[in-house]
């Protein structure tokens, strides 16, 4: 039982990363009918920007320029990295995707792959091939509850991920921008006639998705503090799988499927040798998709999807 609960806790943490990244995939897809295959690399960029922001804040704190407790530095790091990374996302949309809005979707997908490679190798050119350590912002404390070990980082990761996913859900459901995004998810001929700029909403969607990916990047770095330029590739693919599993275009679906994917991976590793983890885990996902090709919250018709 303790082993099961321990794995449950681990799965919640692991699923948090997938959920946050899958949200960005899903939102961009529902609005632009486009899988942004550079999204995994945005996650990487977000983690690196987080390192930069954290170093600056720590340096300022140590010089007494601002007296902040470690948790405040962590929150500020996440916030600033989210904001800065959202600009990277908007730039990607502006340069990479907007000129191809009317192009065949395959061209746009290839653009995503190329932007991904540019981000990876750009990072390599800028910072060199060495791995970078994320500074430890908070000291890890381990709590033991009935034989289950829970660290404060795990709690932070899961709580922040759930808060952000909920905030995104409310944003889409309750605000005028959310309304515009949902309208665009169905059709964007009529949207500009409401006085709403399609380009502005597309940029906003990329900004939101990238901000969430940045948050995922920093949370990931809290748990696994060694960063390299290629860290986003596999993660991006897996989060993409979660987005499909959730039902393309569904905020709720992407979040739940992200966590589900975490559970499947962690429990596959619990039962089988960990070298077989992904083989088993993704065979299960494949079976789910054969039964439910549209994912959990997807629409059985192919064209426009609900957000």
């Amino acid at each position: 039982m303790a082993l099961f609960l321990q794995n449950l806790v681990n799965a919640l943490q692991w699923g948090s990363f997938y959920a946050l990244i899958a949200l960005g995939y899903s939102m961009v897809y529902s609005i632009l009918m486009l899988f942004n295959f550079a999204h995994g690399d945005i996650f990487m960029v977000g983690a690196y920007i987080g390192v930069g922001v954290a170093f600056v804040l720590i340096a300022m704190a140590s010089q007494g320029a601002l007296a902040l407790p470690p948790w405040a530095i962590l929150i500020l790091t996440i916030l600033f990295a989210m904001i800065l990374t959202s600009f990277v996302g908007m730039l990607v949309e502006r340069i990479g995707y907007r000129p191809l809005r009317a192009a065949p979707r395959a061209s746009a997908a290839i653009t995503g792959l190329m932007i991904g490679i540019i981000l990876e190798t750009g990072n390599l050119a800028l910072l060199g091939a060495r791995r970078i350590r994320f500074p430890s912002l908070i000291d890890t404390t381990v709590y033991e509850v009935g034989g289950v070990f829970i660290t404060n980082t795990k709690i932070i990761i899961v709580v922040v991920a759930l808060l952000l996913a909920t905030a995104m859900h409310l944003f889409v459901r309750k605000t005028k921008w959310g309304l515009a995004m949902r309208a665009m998810a169905f059709d964007y001929v009529a949207v500009p006639l409401m006085g709403v700029s399609v380009n502005a909403i597309a940029a906003l969607t990329f900004a939101l998705g990238s901000a969430l990916a940045a948050a995922a990047g920093i949370l990931y770095a809290l748990a696994y503090p060694v960063l390299d330029p290629y860290m986003g590739i596999l993660f991006g693919w897996k989060a993409f799988v979660a987005a499909i599993l959730g039902g393309r275009g569904s905020v709720m679906g992407a979040t739940l499927a992200g966590f589900l994917l975490g559970f499947i991976e962690i429990f596959a590793a619990m039962i089988f040798p960990s070298s077989l983890r992904d083989l088993i885990a993704y065979s299960i996902v494949l079976l789910i998709l054969i039964v439910r090709p549209h994912g959990f919250f997807g629409e059985p018709y192919s064209a426009r999807l609900r957000l």
């Binding site: 309304l179 949902r182 309208a183 169905f186 409401m194 006085g195 426009r304």
Partner: protein, 255 residues
Amino acid sequence: MPFLKVDNITHQFGGLRAVHDYELSVEPGQIRGLIGPNGAGKTTIFNLITGIYNPTHGHIYLDGERISGLPPHRIASMGIGRTFQNLLLWRHMNVLEHVKMARFSRIGYGLLGACFGTPRRHREEREIEEKAYDLLEMLDIRHLAGQAVPNLPYGAQRRVEMARALATEPKLLLLDEPTAGMNPDELVQIMEIIRRVHRELNLAIFLIEHRMRFVMELCDRIQTLDFGEVIAEGTPEEIQNNPRVIEAYLGATET
């Protein structure tokens, strides 16, 4: 200067000349009609006025300001509303949400307000809903506010689209075949509603229509378009008796 002035526009798709030397002046409060056989370029003219296409030649002015070349969302917020021939509704949103979406650019609260639910946001949301209900009332669809659009009969969907266009507070409303697919009962209702909207909101209306009786009863002036060119313009009586209009509709008689 008329309220809307279309100054000698021509529009080409590749080698195809869809609209040729088209002129239009709409005065405030006028109801104008545009008729013509299928493929004459009527919807293209709507797309040119609303900025979905840019004219190859010529300019369009609204209230003296040039609007041709501006993006569609700018033109919309300057006071032109529109409906489509084949309903472009957001099928997963309910009726009230359609009207709210149309209020987008009139909603003042910012991102922070949206996130933290400021009093301003609550007040604005309430005002928007009140206005939305007033509009739905005017179009006799208030009782459908919470309904999902695909569940509604066709005539009601058309009215939702009109409510959405009116919620942007246009000074000129473009209606692309407002009676398409309607049964005779719905036809009588929509005519009454267009009259009511015109009277109560005091706006100019420019409509494309195939049903002659409808156009003749409703419009002050009518243009007839054939192969992208205006072949006749005048009052309903003048149009009815114009030999070129009869020819365009019935085909040239062999002599």
